[in-house]
Structures are given as C-alpha cells and as structure tokens.
C-alpha cells in the first residue's frame, strides 16, 4: 500500500471518519478544516503513525504545516521513512 493510502487509512480510523477518508486526496485540508482534527486528534494520529510505520516523531516536528493537508502529512511520513 502506498504511504498516502496508509496515511488516509490511519486518518479514517483514528478520527472515526468512516467512508469520508476514502474521498481524501493529497490536497484535502486537514488541520483547521476537518472538524474532528483537533489537537487531541493530532496526538492520536501522530502516535498511530509512529506505531504503524515504526517511526519516531520529535515534539518540535509537531507543526501546523505538517498537518495542513493529507499530502503534507504523507510527505512528512515519507521523509521520516527515508531519513
């Protein structure tokens, strides 16, 4: 599964979005746009991504830009996987 699809799956599960997450594209806006995506959700998503991909996220990487869109979040994960 492509990273972006896995990210969409994690978002759908952790935010309880059901089928809405299937319609997400790279450009879909998240933080500040999806009502369920509050600060609590950010933490849940980060923890789920860490466990799913075996990556470790530093606190100073938890920035609004990372969570701006589905694409920016997938880019972040990709960058973690290759670093």
């Amino acid at each position: 599964m492509a990273v972006i699809d896995e990210v969409k799956q994690v978002l759908g599960e952790t935010l309880q979005l059901g089928a809405r997450a299937d319609g997400f594209s790279e450009e879909t806006k998240l933080f500040g746009a999806v009502a369920e995506f509050d600060s609590m959700a950010v933490v849940t998503v980060v923890t789920a991504l860490e466990e799913r991909f075996g990556i470790y996220v530093e606190d100073d990487e938890i920035e609004a830009e990372v969570f701006a869109t589905v694409g920016s979040l997938a880019d972040f994960v990709n960058q973690k996987l290759t670093s």
Binding site: Q16, S39, M40, V42, V43, R52, D60, A64
Partner: protein
C-alpha cells in the same frame, strides 16, 4: 470483578494533582485484598488496559507468587514514552493556538517541581516520575511461573500482528524462570482514544476464550 477508578480520577476521592503511582499501587493491592477476603480460596487475577497493565504488573511484582494470572490489554511497555505521548497533548494544543511548546521544556518544568496542566489534568511531577520509571519488561521478568495473557488490537483491514515494541519485550523475556506468556493480536479500534463509546468485539471474544 472489581473495577477501580484510581485515586484522583473518575468517582474516586482526591484530585488528580494529588495522585501518585504509589497510591494507585497501594489501592490496587487493597482491591485485591478485598476480593481475596470476599471469595476465600479463589485465585485473584489482575487485568489492566494501557497504563493499567503496567499497574497490574507493578502490583504483581511486589508479591511475585501471589497472583497466578495477568490479563494485559494493549499494555504500555515504557512509562517514559507514555509520559512523552501524554505531554504531546499540550504541545499539540499549543500548536493549535499558534504557539510553540516542546515536550523537553515541559519535562524541565516538571523537574523543577511545577504542576502542569495537560488536557485538563493537573499533572504533578511526582506522578510523572513514578510513571517514567516503569518498564514492562523488567516487571514481567520478575514473575516466575505467572500466566500472562497479552492482547492487542490491530486496525481492521491490516494484518493482525503485535506492535514491534511489544514483540521486542516478549522476545527479551527469559525462556526459563520467567512468566508464561501468551500473546495475540485481534482486529479492532483503539477504543480508549475514541471519544464515543466504542466496542472491540474481537477483543472481548478473545478474552472470553482465555477465561472460559
């Protein structure tokens, strides 16, 4: 079954800022005593979810042969990582407010004795220190002969497997002289992170089967 609200949480007495790991441990021990008095001769098993699993193992480790059986649901394996993840709630809330805080700064403030508010909880440095010191691996290794059933949830649609961190703990346990561990991943959603009441039927079925 006796279900405890730890001191400072739920319907129990105390405020969260007064909660200490040692109090939770002593209270869990009192709960086990109460069960043993009420049903003399019957074995008492301990059951914990997430940090509660560490509490169950901590209690068992205080009296290695007292509890014949432990049931761990998605145990937290390292207390320090749990604290880091919990502090992130505040880091993320600051991000949402357009500010910036770091977990390291928050830890430094705790180390200076400050009580921090995180997601509505008044978190005391003493409680954090108690939790940070916990390692599931070491606690389990000190439970010779104890039957431990370890259950985890895997997201529906993905392959059912224990998390890498859990596998590492299980692989580190001594082949002899340690606990007798069974482990299993079942499909379900992490209900403790979800605001709405959510069930994990496969987890309940697997638990039923273990205690049938």
């Amino acid at each position: 079954m006796l279900l405890l609200d730890p001191f400072g949480t739920g319907d129990s007495a105390g405020s969260f800022h007064e909660a200490r790991w040692e109090i939770w441990l002593a209270d869990a021990g009192r709960g086990a005593d109460w069960l043993a008095e009420r049903w003399p001769g019957r074995p008492v098993s301990l059951w914990g979810l997430r940090l509660g699993a560490l509490l169950a193992c901590s209690l068992a480790a205080t009296a290695p042969r007292r509890f014949a059986r432990l049931l761990l649901w998605q145990p937290v394996v390292r207390g320090d990582q749990f604290v880091t993840q919990f502090l992130r709630l505040r880091v993320a809330a600051a991000m949402a407010a357009g500010e910036k805080e770091s977990g390291q700064d928050l830890k430094a403030r705790l180390a200076e004795g400050e009580i921090l508010e995180v997601a509505g909880y008044e978190l005391a440095p003493e409680l954090v220190a108690g939790i940070e010191a916990l390692r599931l691996e070491g606690l389990l290794a000190g439970l010779p002969g104890c039957r431990v059933d370890w259950l985890e949830l895997s997201s529906p649609g993905s392959e059912s497997a224990l998390s890498p961190a859990s596998r590492r703990v299980l692989e580190s346990l001594p082949a002899e002289g340690g606990p007798e561990v069974t482990s299993q991943a079942v499909s379900g959603e992490p209900f403790w992170t979800i605001q709405e009441i959510t069930l994990a039927p496969a987890l309940l079925d697997a638990t039923d089967a273990l205690f049938a």
